[in-house]
């Protein structure tokens, strides 16, 4: 339900002109709900940035999300898989 909830909020933010990127933990839910711009991460629930107390790993996930904001080739709904070394 968290995945749907953040997607619905993201949609409203986009309607008001705020560019969003939503992390998603369930790919099939993201495909159904269709958040505007989403990064699918292969992590278990409760661990959206992968590892606690690991700033480098958390930064790597956030950086991948930020790159989606900068990708002018993306079109809505954009759902991109996270690709990290060691994932």
């Amino acid at each position: 339900m968290c995945n749907q909830a953040v997607s619905l909020v993201a949609a409203e933010l986009e309607r008001r002109g705020i560019a969003t990127v939503a992390i998603q933990l369930l790919r099939d839910v993201a495909e159904r709900v269709r958040p505007p711009r989403a990064l699918f991460v292969p992590f278990r629930h409760g661990y959206p940035l992968d590892l606690p107390s690991n700033p480098a790993r958390q930064h790597a996930v956030i950086e991948a999300a930020l790159r989606l904001l900068e990708d002018s080739d993306l079109r809505p709904p954009a759902l991109v898989d996270l690709e990290l070394p060691g994932s």
Binding site: M1, C2, V9, R34, P42, L49, P55, L66, S72
Partner: protein, 160 residues
């Protein structure tokens, strides 16, 4: 890997029959300036509150659609997990709230000039919302209004 198979049989059965809300049409706000000139806000569904805020309420039918404003300079270690779901492991985000509410990481992105600035407030809510009508009708527009008033250009949304 986040999979529905992680959940209990009761939750899996519920989810199989659940009618997910389809966003249609899908809105789109393209980024119109460099991230280094943008103000970023976090929106997390991890159910964190500050010690002086009311916890989220899992007795609300259909889910608690309220939200809390978390001041940007609030110490992340003092956030309290009030997400009531037992469908995920809370241990990681209790140990390090940055895992689901990465305030420290956002500050570091400002320091490194990857993003321009951090919003004055971030948004926290509890994502276990099975009937999202109030979220869509009331909370989401109010969140959008607040962030726009705060000069926010981009938002990172983090579920758990």
């Amino acid at each position: 890997m986040g999979e529905i198979a992680e959940f209990s049989l009761a939750v899996r059965t519920y989810l199989r029959a659940y009618r997910w809300r389809k966003i249609d049409p899908v809105p789109w706000a393209p980024l119109d300036k460099p991230l280094s000139d943008c103000r970023l806000a976090l929106v997390s569904s991890a159910g964190f509150v500050t010690p002086d805020q009311a916890p989220f309420d899992d007795s609300v039918r259909g889910g608690d659609a309220s939200f809390r404003s978390i001041p940007s300079d609030f110490p992340v270690d003092e956030l309290i997990d009030t997400h009531r779901s037992d469908s995920f492991d809370h241990e990681g985000m209790v140990r390090d709230p940055n895992l689901a509410f990465p305030i420290d990481r956002v500050r570091e992105l400002v320091e490194s000039r990857r993003i321009g600035s951090v919003a004055g407030e971030h948004i926290s809510f509890m994502g276990s919302i099975t009937a999202p009508r109030r979220l869509v009708r009331d909370s989401a527009p109010e969140i959008a209004h607040r962030l726009r008033e705060g000069g926010v250009d981009v938002a990172l949304l983090v579920p758990v």
